[in-house]
Structure formats: structure tokens, C-alpha cells
Subunit: 454 residues, 2 copies
């Protein structure tokens, strides 16, 4: 049979790599729950007409059909390509049974038929938090979701992150106050600033958004403002544009930056960056993107914002604010680069040696005694020579091997140091750092970020 090749765009992890992903998901879940976000999962499929809205994403949708379907039968279901569309549908479907504002987190895969590349996969896991209200939703929730995600990502052993925050009201108000003819198109053009040179963007603002050359220059000036505190307010005012919506946007953005001030650290910065627009036009206020130092090539590893109509059934509107973090997009490149790895291949802290097959029940009883106190362990697969059993533990990264002596006493060996000592299976526990598989960060001692991950 031919060698099995991986499927491009569908990455899978080895057990020791899965430790990294799993611990990161556990840590995110812990932070989200501390803040009162309830976990849900949605089915992976949606009716195609709910997914396909005529946008760019449509051609990347995977549709699902039974192998036994009639030839030519119309496919009705597609795989969700993010967690927002299914969440909006879930809110509408269950509105009568949910309490609003409804705070939920959701950590699940999504699927896109795009061309695979680093950080872009056909199956990828995201972690989303959203707060959704019925008819209204207080602005303070914008501050809250950004801050929760800052805390959640700050607790992970990742390279330094930067939250780049802006506000659509600020941009729209500024453009309106400036007298730009086509505000929506101007936002779309400005969004290209990370791909095109400034002068090209300025030309397009004139050609496509009806701006004068002077207005285009003002737009570019706004877009260059990027600070870690609320001094952007004065910088914007110095540009001399007057508009009520602009004032509202300035106040909201200042509140987000201030609200996160005591959560930032060397590991997570929060900045006002007035060029962030996020192309999707359902955003109506706060918008943000998250970048990771040294991994700017991945583009944003997270993003989100406020949408005044996350969902609507025609009668009732459900505004929402949320942030999404790309788990696969972040974790898979970090694993591939050797930045993050798992401390071992198995959960076991101890391998119980087997002296001979007839003595297997002795080893099984020792394992049971250890497990009764929460010590993960496994009994040797065979009664090979002790040297071979120790090497089997070593290959799996199991730190301790346990030996039952013929006289009924016990010894446990730390196979890293070679230290061997008497032990009692009803009281012995491994040092805390060896208790469970954890994340190892390259170039760091098993210090703070790792211990924070337990």
C-alpha cells in the first residue's frame, strides 16, 4: 500500500503537540468562565443560504451531501466558515430560552476551501467570545470583551501580542466631518494601507471615494495615528475635523484603551491604531485586530468588534460585541517553529515496571493506588529487562519508573537524574512540575508562563 501523505490544509498534531493545543484551549476556557461566559457548541453545518451571502467567502464554502444522494440533487447544507454565523443563528433559534445579555464562548473548528498556507488551513480551530443583547447592549460590554481577551491571551505562553483597536464611528465621523463623498468606499480603500503604498491609497481615495487631494491627505494623517494611551484624542482634534459621530467614536475608543490599561503587560499591549477598519461592513463601533510579534506574516491572529445587528428576525434586533482568536493559526506555526512543545507524549507521570508477567497484578495494584490520588500512570506493556522498560519510559518522556521489590518494598526512580528511592504507592506523589504534561517554551526555564498554564 502506498505511503499515506497528509492532506494539505488539514493539519493534525502528534500527541505531544496536542498537549500544547489542549492546554491553550483549557487556559482560554478557564479565563472565559471566570468572566461568566457560558460554553456552547453549534452543529458544524448550516443551510447554504445562511452561509452564502454573495461575498468573497462564498467560493470557499464546503458543501455537504450524502454519497448516496441522487445525481444532480441540490446540496442544502454547508460547513460553517467561522463561529459568528452559526452563533447568530443559534441566538435567533433559541432566543426564547436564552437570558440576555447572553455571554458565550465557543471553541470549535471551522472550514474554508481556501488555498492552504502557513496560518491558513482548510480546517482550523477558533476561540470566540461574544456578548449579545436583545434590542440594546451597553457600550461597557465593548470594554469588557476586549479586556477579557487581553487577560485570556496574556495568560498564554505566546510571543508578545498587540491589540490594535479602533472605532468605526471615529472613522466614519471623521470622513463625514471632512466632507468625503463616499464614506463606505473610503473605509474600504483605507483598509488597504497594509498592502499598498500610501500614495496609491491616496490616489484611490480620490478616484474611488470622491475625496479631494487635501481630504485624502487628512485621511492618511488620521490613519498614521497609533498610540498606547488616550493621547490619540488630542492628535485627532489637532486635525481640525468637527463631527458628533467622531466625538462619540473618540470617547468610545478612549474608554476601551483606559479600560484595558491595568491589564496590559510586556506580553500584551493595547493600542489605538486609527488605520484599523476591518473590511466587513457589519461592524458599527469598536473594531480590533491582534498581532503577534515575529509573526506579522500571519496577519492578524485575532480580531472582532461591535455589530449593532449581529442577528435579526425582522422584528427584534440583537446587537453584539465579540473577539475571535485563531487557535490553529497561532499554535500550529509556533509548534512548527519549535517555540512551543509538549513536555511529554503521554499523560503518565509514572511507568510501573513489570518484573515478570505473573507479577503483572502487583504492578496493576500499584497503579491503582497511585491513580486513587490522581497520579497518572501506566503499567509496562511487557516484562522486558528493566533497562528496556526504562528506555520505553524515556522515549515517552515519562519521568518516573516504579519497581516493586521481591520483599514487598517499593522503589521509584527519577530516570532523568538516576536517583532511586524507597516509596509507598499510597502516599508518594511526583513533584508538582512533573504531575502532568505541560507546555514547554523554547529558550525559557519551566518558569512563570508554563506554571501559569497548569
Amino acid at each position: 500500500m502506498a505511503k499515506i501523505a497528509p492532506l494539505s490544509g488539514f493539519p493534525e498534531l502528534l500527541p505531544e503537540q496536542r498537549v500544547v493545543e489542549r492546554e491553550i484551549i483549557a487556559s482560554l476556557s478557564r479565563t472565559f468562565e471566570l468572566h461568566g461566559f457560558a460554553n456552547i457548541e453549534t452543529r458544524v453545518v448550516e443551510p447554504i443560504d445562511r452561509l452564502a451571502k454573495g461575498g468573497e467567502i462564498d467560493k470557499e464554502i464546503f458543501v455537504l451531501q450524502r454519497l448516496a444522494a441522487e445525481p444532480g440533487a441540490k446540496a442544502e447544507l454547508g460547513m460553517h466558515f467561522d463561529l459568528t454565523v452559526p452563533f447568530a443563528r443559534y441566538v435567533l433559534e433559541n432566543a426564547g430560552k436564552l437570558e440576555f445579555p447572553f455571554r458565550r464562548y465557543q471553541i470549535q473548528p471551522a472550514w474554508r476551501g481556501e488555498r492552504p498556507q502557513e496560518g491558513r488551513y482548510r480546517q482550523f480551530t477558533q476561540a470566540d467570545i461574544d456578548i449579545v443583547g436583545r434590542e440594546g447592549l451597553g457600550f461597557h460590554h465593548d470594554v469588557e470583551v476586549v479586556r477579557v481577551m487581553v487577560e485570556a491571551l496574556g495568560a498564554l505562553p505566546l510571543p508578545p501580542l498587540s491589540f490594535q483597536v479602533n472605532n468605526r464611528k471615529l472613522i466614519q465621523g471623521f470622513y463625514r466631518g471632512l466632507g468625503i463623498a463616499d464614506v463606505t468606499n473610503a473605509i474600504k480603500v483605507i483598509d488597504k494601507l497594509d498592502k499598498l503604498p500610501a500614495e496609491t491609497v491616496a490616489e484611490q481615495l480620490v478616484e474611488q471615494a470622491g475625496a479631494t487631494v487635501e481630504q485624502a491627505q487628512q485621511c492618511l494623517k488620521l490613519a498614521t495615528i497609533r498610540v498606547g494611551d488616550t493621547s490619540f484624542v488630542d492628535q485627532v482634534r489637532a486635525l481640525g475635523v468637527q463631527d458628533d459621530l467622531l466625538e462619540e467614536g473618540l470617547a468610545e475608543l478612549a474608554a476601551v484603551i483606559e479600560g484595558c490599561a491595568d491589564a496590559v503587560s510586556d506580553r500584551v499591549r493595547v493600542e489605538a491604531n486609527l488605520r484599523i477598519a476591518r473590511g466587513l461592513d457589519y461592524y458599527t463601533g469598536t473594531v480590533l485586530e491582534v498581532f503577534m510579534a515575529g509573526y506579522e506574516r500571519l496577519k492578524s491572529v485575532g480580531g472582532g468588534g461591535r455589530y449593532d445587528a449581529l442577528a435579526s428576525d425582522g422584528k427584534t434586533t440583537y446587537p453584539g460585541v465579540g473577539v475571535s482568536f485563531g487557535v490553529s493559526r497561532t499554535v500550529i506555526p509556533l509548534i512548527a517553529d519549535g517555540v512551543l512543545s509538549g513536555s511529554r507524549k503521554v499523560p503518565s507521570a509514572v511507568l510501573i515496571a513489570v518484573t515478570d508477567e505473573g507479577e503483572r497484578p502487583t504492578s496493576t495494584a500499584i497503579a491503582a493506588a497511585l491513580r486513587a490520588r490522581g497520579v497518572a500512570c501506566e503499567v509496562s506493556a511487557d516484562a522486558a529487562k528493566f533497562g528496556k522498560q526504562i528506555r520505553a519510559a524515556e522515549r515517552r518522556g515519562i519521568p518516573f519508573v516504579w519497581f516493586a521489590q521481591a520483599d514487598g518494598s517499593h522503589q521509584v526512580k527519577d530516570i532523568r537524574s538516576g536517583d532511586q528511592e524507597d516509596a509507598d504507592p499510597t502516599v508518594w506523589t511526583p513533584p508538582e512540575a512533573d504531575g502532568r504534561a505541560h507546555i514547554v517554551v523554547a529558550g525559557q526555564d519551566t518558569g512563570s508562563p508554563v506554571s501559569r498554564m497548569r
Copy 2:
């Protein structure tokens, strides 16, 4: 817009129901890891030719294709319909990087395009444990996986479970020793005993498996043996059939029953049931099915066994033994029947009241102090009258509401009892039973099974 209807066969849970599923998955994971099983996840898709093997399942396979695919383009990927096919492929693909025997657990959804009914869904979550060897795999692992699943399911707050175990060598050896012409067909016929009357099965043994009337009667006698200890060995021997393979099967089955003897309880029984065959013909030794009292209509809620060739690349063979548990099949009917429910809709143990919007930072600081010690909480969405804030907590099942007094002191109210007392946010913690959302079992106090689930 029309009311959104659920999609038949794709069940979704409300947040308080998801608490049940989540805690059950957490408990299973804990037990599996205590026994040294490493977690993996596989991608959801496989090449169609790996999934479709000409069996009954083929017509239930969902295939995946890009919405933008050329008309008439051949679909190449299908959704996995169990966790065994992708695991076998994963083992072959990564054989050079895995340590054998390889012990893994996997808890993921699978998809089948079958007609939805209670316990049978188009998307459903399974929890599988398997141990796979390279070339060989000691029989003691059969005992081990059954026992691990007995412990894992015994730790869940489910109705009583029964593990019904048999051994294919025992059946095959008995039929061979008896002189049945077509042993394989005889096993397929005997497998229908739970659907057809005994006399019909006897007739089919004669017609389809070339048995004599006397042989058919002996087969039926074997199939009626069902005991909770190893007395089945003498009962089989009393039928007077001699065969080496039969002896091997008797010894193996006796070892499984004995190996589980001290793990059984009122909640989980383990029995030798000599009619269990499991139709799939890749099983080669131990076979088992798991049934749940009061839910016999779901058929088995779990099953598995030994397969001497879980995977093969033509040169190397990988034998395996494993057990699968149907999480959705079990949990969704129990939730629907009100047997299991979540203790609340949110993770929060405390709602921090807001006196007026200007005082929100005070409430946010209290929440931060509580979270710093692991107390999940949320700040009230608005500064409504306290009565209204308390009712908001009540509707979510949050047990405590926290009030900051104008003089800087604090009070916390248990809204179930109405008791209100002074509290310090830097030291107060809720009683352990209120710390996190947990499973509530109908008709039981929040006693042992629930506390075991935390």
C-alpha cells in the same frame, strides 16, 4: 423572516445542557489520562476511498465539496463516520513518530447520513480509547481497556450500565468444534438473536450456515449463557464441544471478567454474554457491548473489542483493542428526559450588582478580586433596581449577588435562602458545591455522583 427550525439529526444544546455534556467529557478525559491514554484529534475528513469499503455504512457517508467546484467534479473527501477509521489512518501515517503500544483517547464528533431517531443523530460525539501495537499486542491490554472504560463510565452519573462481553475465538472455536460448515455465516445469523425469535434463528443456521438441527440447538444453548462471573466456563464445557480455539477464547473471556471483578458496582456490571458477536468481521477476540438500564431502546451505548489488524501498510500489521462510548447517544436522551441537567446557565457563582453606572468601576474591581482567587463572576449588565438585578441572577441560576455599600463595606446575598452577610472580596469564596456549574441528577440529592463529577 421565517422562524428558524432546528435541523433534524443535528442536535444542539442550550448552555445549561452543555454543562452536562462538558462535565461528562471532562470526567471521561480525566479517567483516560489517569490510565496514561494520550489525547489526539484527527481532521474530520478522509479520502472517500478510505471511508467507503462497500459496506452498509457507505450510503450514509457525507461527502464534502467546495461550493465553487466545477459542475460534475468528483468529490474526493468524506466526513468520518466513526473514530476508528481516522485513527487507523493516523497510526499508519505517523507510525514512525509514535511509541508502541500507543494508547490514545479521542473525543470528537462523527457524521452519518442516517435517518434521525432517538439516540441516532447525523452529527454525534463519541469517546474512544484504543491501544494499538506494532506487529504484536499483549492480551492483557484487552483486560485493561475494558476495565478503563468500566472505571470511566462508572464515574459518570448515568443509569446503571451493563458491559456484555464475549470472545470471537470462543464462538468460532465452539462452532468449528461442533462441525458447523460456515462459521462466519453462523456468527452473522446468531447476531440476529435480539431481533428474531430463537426458532427463526435456528432455521437460518440450518439454511444459511449449513448447520444440522442439532448443531443449531447447540449454538442457541451457547448463546443463552449469560453470567456475571467465570462460571460460564463450566457451562460451556458441559455442552461437550472440544476445540483449541474455544479453549483460548474461554481463557481470554474469563481473564476479562476476572480483571474487572473489583471495578464493578451497582452502577456498572460486567457480564459474560455468549450471544454478543458484533457483526463487523474485523473483530478477532474480545467483543463487548454496553447497555444502559431503562434505555435498552437505544441498543448499545458503547462497544468494541480486539482486532488483530486495526491497520496495515502491507508490510507491518498493527493490532488493536479498544472501546467506544456514544456520548451523544447517551447524554442527549438523558437530558431530553430530564434525568440529567446543568445546575445553572452560566459559569458565574456571583453577580456583582451595580449601584449606578458611575460606580461600575467599583463593581469591576470587586469582580477582579474574586477572579484572582478563581471565583467565576460577572458584573451586572445595568444599574437597574437591585430587585431587578437579583432576578437577573436568579434567571441564570447564579446563587450569590454582591453589593458594594456606600461606606466601602461589602455584603453578599445567597439569593436562594435570602441570607445576606458582610464579606471581603479578597477572602470570600462560595461553598464548594456552588463554585462551578455541575450536573444535577433528577431524584437525587447533590450527593455522591454529582460531587464525583466536579
